[in-house]
Symmetry: C2
Subunit: 162 residues, 2 copies
């Protein structure tokens, strides 16, 4: 339930790419000095971002990275999924090897699973509303969006079909 390093630094790199002025792509070295990370590590992070379809790269001299689509069309939900996989997978209870007394053998009333569905739903509710552009525009923009989200569909909206 904690943020992984890959999520934290991956997001920071993505922000720098989004923030970059001019038509030129951002180079790994820029990202590295900007975030205070080693170029090798940044290379690894942006590879994940690229394979996840969030950025595109051009190789060779003068190469670098660009967002694959406008910042306003990249949600935090997508970013986190790319950097760390889905928040709560469907196969969750199968993966955890408990012999079923409270889960596999009684899949309909597994209260633990229900809890995580709820929590995951609430989280997703928030993460889907926030885009990269919101982060670039600062807290104000984010606040407005979240407030609107809260008004339209309170937490009850996160209910994932009990």
């Amino acid at each position: 339930m904690k943020l992984s390093a890959q999520e934290e630094y991956g997001l920071r790199c993505l922000l720098q790419i989004a923030q970059h002025p001019g038509p030129d792509p951002v180079q790994i070295s820029e990202l590295a000095t900007g975030e205070g990370l080693s170029p090798e590590y940044v290379a690894k992070l942006v590879r994940v971002l690229r394979q996840g379809g969030l950025v595109t790269s051009t190789r060779g001299a003068t190469g670098g990275y660009r967002l694959s689509r406008p910042a306003s069309e990249i949600t935090m939900q997508q970013v986190i999924e790319v950097l760390d996989g889905p928040l709560f997978s469907e196969a969750f209870c199968q993966v955890h090897t408990g012999q079923g007394v409270s889960c596999i053998h009684r899949p309909t009333d597994c209260s633990v699973r229900t809890l995580w569905r709820w929590v995951g739903g609430a989280l997703q509710q928030v993460l889907e509303k926030i885009t990269l552009a919101d982060l670039l525009n600062g807290p104000k923009s984010m606040g407005v969006r979240l407030f609107e989200a809260g008004q339209n569909t309170p937490l009850a909206g996160a209910e994932p079909s009990l």
Copy 2:
């Protein structure tokens, strides 16, 4: 941003302890067979729960574990904190070694930090409302509580002082 094994299994054990009928404490062996885990592993999990103050133990023959307070007074927030530490620590940005361009040197407008504050706030909002008792009473109880929480203070309530 994923659930750790310790969180998942620790919570399941705690639920079994809470669910246990009669005045006798629950023994490690019961928990182990109930969840399909090795007794040794359960012992380790339950140690964390005890050190976190969620359960009390009695030693010797006929010993075992009990909740340290009523299930309705144990929130998911507390459980997760015991099993995996605080969700978002205050020292978060200090820990992550980025040389500050977007954070340490400009601590007041670090958009990443603001994001996590929001997300953490929303999460906490949900986790504080759900108690062990709710999980035992099943989805209905949980749904009602969350809905009420959503009504009184929508997501806006999670705003942590922008």
